[in-house]
Each structure stands twice: as structure tokens, then as C-alpha cells.
Symmetry: C3
Subunit: 262 residues, 3 copies
């Protein structure tokens, strides 16, 4: 059973058009929705969602990701192969950085521009919905074993993207918000190994000026109390036990986080 | 792999009961959610969702659609076959117009009243949830090749439905809102070919008294600026780049849209 | 096609990690989302969702349910087999009562503690996401026919849970709210057979001091009017035709409902 994942900012209804197109080309595809709730034009946020999930998908998975404010303009369409030989996954989406962190995480990234019209929707290409007209059909063809080398020319000047800077500056650990989940948990770009160099479980720290304990799991803070932990994504996360940290800390994607051990 | 789509106003939880029933009858069915977010009793809105997606589904797809304010009353249950010979799709749902625009779009519509109790849920028919008790099992049987002619008698006096009037009246192009998507993009009933007779890309127009450019894609308007375009459904659409046009224009399903070329 | 259902309070994104893990272990699994919208830590609410749907799923279904405020603490992980011989279903989730009402409904409940590390995620067990790291992979293995007896030792001292008390007290029928659906329909713990002993369709009753008719289906009350009925779950339900009863009656999970026949 070939597996295709979808990551978009399309909300409701439009993802079904992508699925119809995919299943028309590959009726045996299994489709997994990663999310359709990325903020409109939230490229970095979508890139993080894909990046955080990609290690859990099996080899040969085709990830179709469409957060695409440039749809209908001259931005290119890309297909990417990444991963160790025999253990590759594929990525299809716009050339705006969206696919890059996830593919780079797997290693051995090969990037191709999609120019082969035979792989696109037969009934025509709209100016506004390349998810349906280009990315879904190309993903479906890849899931049937179509060679990624034949989607178009290999390119090296694709748009790059990272999750921003983080680090240690004297008594401070700093970083940025990359994602707020549907509960308002705030996920930063500071990886576990950097956090654990800086402080230990049980440490009291100040997060953006507010006292917060560093714990191993949500239930170890009181109801309604803030906490920081290493989230299931492997990054430092700010949460409120039973509450919304994004609102209470006034943090959204791109927001600065500064931590000081007390 | 037989394909079944679902279109309902059921929100969360209840669609899973339909899926359980379908997969109990046809474990090989692939199920695609078109949407479960239709407004309660929004028959025309649901009809539009189905209508707009049906061209993208492969032959033999069975569309189960349930926006059903008359559930438990005397309204009939229908199964419909439509499309060119060898390329048919099937529709199952209440007799309130919901299925008609999509089926008519495919042509060769044959409409049957569902009366065959053998196709319904064995454990009983509730008064409130025919989606689970009648429409899901009938759809599952059709997806296994059960002949649509055997669900019950053919009928010709089914409830009809269209998307309302539109047209050109002197210097005005007018129509109605049929759907607001989850971003607040407002989709009208005015088809592309009528729009393109009336004005061209780059035209400045007035939409309900407000100046708006007619462009080819969202990114061609400034951030926060209104625009009109031919949406991916093939209809005139009113949008705000990065905003909610339904709110800003005060338009909901059934609302009047009047456009004047400046 | 082996069938796996998911019931969680995970909202968006996290369910996809569970699906990736499941399909990596059993690529042929069909996955049905029951809901990912349970209130955070709403164990009883999640238990009701699973309980209400379980009769509609076919034999051999594996239900993975994760509403798990105790994740990362010492609470045990369970796998349960239930149902008549040859017609069993399976349940995987935390030992907090979540699985019990659904499994007990099927009868012949056998409960096992999951201790077999071979069934868990190879790349490590996080402190915060046992849905992905333990419950999803165990469910996937069960869906491939792995014997439930081999997940770990059988236990009898699992955490129990019921839907609270209800009954008749003189002129009053009383019970509790167990679930509010996405429309604000309020589902009580009072079963159909108890309701029908107390009053009949067409009865006028007082619900928490407010006059409400008892009808067979939503459309039999006026637009915007309250009603009570036997919902599709087989329990007394309070609704507003086209409105939100949970808000209008000020009722949430655990709220008391008192009914008096007028």
C-alpha cells in the first residue's frame, strides 16, 4: 500500500479535491492528513509540521505539502528525494522552503523542478490551486513508482529555509517559536541536547521574565500552571497544564524566547 | 479499491459511525471526507461542495451526502446513477435537492427511491441518524457493485435544486453567494464564461459598491486587499488576500452580489 | 483489511504521528478517526465516544484511545479483548477507565497490561506522547494478529469508570451529562428504556425547570426551540433545533439534569 501524506493551509473542502485526484491516479494509495490547519501562508510552520513527523513515516512515503502564497506566480514546483539508499521518502510542493527542513533531516537530498506536463491534471492547470492540479497528481505518480528523475531537471538553487537562530548567550538560552499546536503549546527551535546542556529536570527557570519549572511531562505542573519541557518533537516547549501558553505568553510563530536559570 | 466520499453537516464524531458501518459492509472501501462542516441544514451549500468536487473523482465513486433537516419525517431517501456509460458515479442521500446539481453535472441522471430494507442497518433504523442507518450502508453496498436499480423504484418527481439566478443587467453583472469556504472566500454562482464575457483580467470593478481588482490569483492583490478572481471551482470568487471576505463584505450563502465595471 | 479506530484529545497534527507509526507496522491497516476533539483530559467524554460507536464497528477492529492526563507518570498501559467468541474487538489505551465502558458493552472483557517492549516504538519512548510511542504500535501489532495475551500480564485491578447515576425519584427523572457534541446537543446518561418508562413521545416535560417537548426527531420542534429526544446513541438528549443546547441550558459534561413530567 503506497502511502501519501498531505500538509496544507487549505482548511476544509479543498483537501478532498487533492484526494480525489490522487485516488483517480493511484486507487491503492493510503492518504494520511498531517494537517490542513497551517496558518495561511505559514511556510515555516508547515515546514516544521512536516519536519517533525517525517521520521515516523515508512520508506517510500510521498509527502505532498502545499503552503503556497506564490501559487500562480513564477515560483517553481519541486519534487525531492531524500534519505539513505533503499530508505528514501519523497516530497512534492512549491519552491519556497517548505520541503527543505524535512528532506534535509533525512539526508541525501536530490531536488527536481517539476516540468513534465504529462504528470499534471489532464483537465487543465488553474492559477490558484496547484495542490489539486500539479502537486497531488505528481505525488500520486511518484507513489506508483514513477522515477523522480523524470519529473524535470535537477536543480540546486532551490529556496532554502531554517527554523531561525538559537543558542546560549552568557546566562541566557534563547531561541524562536516555530509552531503553536492546537492547544496553544508553544514549540521553540531549541533542540533537546542544547537545553540539557543548559539546565536539568527540576530546574527553576525564567521564560520571558516569568518563573516556570522545567519538567518531564505535563502532569507534573499544577492545573493551570505554566511549565517547560522537551516536547515529543524533541524541542523545548512552553505549555500550560490544561491551558493555552501561546495566549498567556503572547507568543506566536517567530516570537523570541529567552530563558534564564534561576 | 472502491471509493466512497462523505459530505455532511455532522461535524465531529457522527461521521465515524458512518465509516464503521461502511467498512463493516465493504472492508476494502476507501473513504474520502469531502467535508463535515456544512452549516446545519445548509442543503444548497452541501450541494455546491459536492458539485464542485465531483469532476475530480474517478468513475464508480459512490458519494454519500447527508444534509438532512427532514430526517425522520416523510422525505424520501434516494440513490442516483449519473455520468456517461462506463464512467458513472453514484450518489446516496435525502430527497431534498442535495444530490441533484452534482449528478446533473455528470449527465444521464437516473434517480431511485431507496426502499429495499435489506440494504439498511440490520440493528434498526433510528429517527435521527439516517446517515448511519440508511445512507452509509446503501452506499457501501453500491460500492460493492450492488445494482442501483435494485435499491427501489425509479422516480422522476425528486426535489430539484439550483444555485440561483445570475446574469447581466445593463451595466451590472449579478449573482448570489453559494458557498463561503473556511477562509471566508465567497464563492458566487457566476460561471467563468459569463464573467469573461463581461470583463477582463486587470479590470477595475465595483463589487457591492466597493472597488476591487479582477486578478488571476490571490498573490496579485496587496496583503489585506480585496480581489475577485475565477476560483478553482470555475466560479467568480470574492477574496481578501490573507483576510476574510465573507466577514468584510457581510456576505453569506444566498447573499446578493452586484458587479459594475468601472 | 484490518481496521483501527482512533479516539483522542490530540486535536490536530499529533494524530498523524500515530497514523505514520501504525502504517509503518501494518501498511494494510484502514484507520478511522472517531474523534480527536475530546476536551483535554476528558476521560469520561472520550469513554462515551468510544462506547457509543463500538457496536457499529466490525469484529477484529482495534480501537486505540488516548485521553491520557497521566502520561509519563506510573499509570499503566492496557490492551483489552472483548466481545463474543469469534466476534471480538480490541482496545488499547491508558489505564484510567477510558476503555472500560466500550469493552464492557461488548462483554467477555480480558484486560492485559502492556509490558512487552518489542511492541513499542523502536526509536524510544517519550515522556509525553505514548499515543505515538506505545499505543499506536501496539494497536498496529494487534491489527496484524499479534496475540493480545502476549502484550503482558493479565490484570483485574484496572481503573473502572461508569457514566454516573441516573434514575427515578418520585416525580423526577434525573441523570448527568456525559457528552456535548460539536453542535451543542447535550447527551445524558439516561438510557432509552428508562426514559420510555417515565414518559411518552408527545409528553410535555420540564428539563431543569424549562418547558420542553419530548419528540422523535429534531425537525419536530420549531426553529430555535428546545426539545428532548432519544438520540442516535440510545440516550436521552437535549437539543435546540438549529441552536446550541449546551450553551442555552448551561450544561457541560458532568452537569445534572432533572426532568419532571407536566
Amino acid at each position: 500500500m503506497p502511502l501519501i501524506s498531505l500538509t496544507t493551509d487549505f482548511g476544509d473542502l479543498y483537501p478532498a479535491a487533492m484526494k480525489a485526484v490522487i485516488l483517480g491516479i493511484n486507487p491503492r494509495a493510503q492518504i494520511v492528513d498531517i494537517t490542513h490547519g497551517i496558518s495561511q501562508a505559514g511556510i515555516r510552520e508547515g515546514a516544521f509540521a512536516l519536519y517533525s513527523l517525517v521520521p515516523y513515516f515508512p520508506e517510500k512515503t510521498v509527502h505532498v505539502a502545499v503552503v503556497d502564497p506564490g501559487v500562480g506566480t513564477s515560483r517553481r514546483a519541486l519534487a525531492v528525494k531524500a534519505g539513505a539508499a533503499g530508505n528514501e521518502q519523497f516530497f512534492v510542493g512549491p519552491d519556497n522552503g517548505l520541503l527543505v527542513p524535512a528532506a534535509r533531516r533525512l539526508g541525501n537530498m536530490e531536488v527536481y523542478e517539476i516540468t513534465n506536463r504529462d504528470l499534471m491534471l489532464k483537465s487543465g492547470i488553474s492559477a490558484t490551486f496547484h495542490g489539486r492540479d500539479i502537486f497531488a497528481p505528481v505525488g500520486a505518480h511518484l507513489s506508483k513508482g514513477f522515477p523522480v528523475e523524470d519529473v524535470g531537471p535537477e536543480v540546486s538553487d532551490f529556496v532554502d529555509l531554517d527554523f531561525g537562530t538559537y543558542g546560549i548567550d552568557g546566562p541566557f538560552l534563547f531561541g524562536e517559536v516555530v509552531f503553536s499546536d492546537s492547544f496553544g503549546n508553544v514549540i521553540t527551535n531549541i533542540p533537546e541536547e542544547v537545553v540539557l546542556k543548559f539546565f536539568n529536570f527540576g530546574s527553576k527557570v525564567e521564560v520571558n521574565g516569568r518563573n516556570v519549572p522545567f519538567v518531564q511531562t505535563y502532569g507534573l505542573a499544577g492545573k493551570g500552571e505554566p511549565l517547560i519541557l522537551i516536547g515529543s518533537h524533541g524541542f523545548l516547549e512552553i505549555a500550560i497544564n490544561g491551558g493555552n501558553a501561546a495566549l498567556q505568553f503572547g507568543l506566536e510563530s517567530g516570537g523570541q524566547v529567552v530563558i534564564k536559570v534561576l
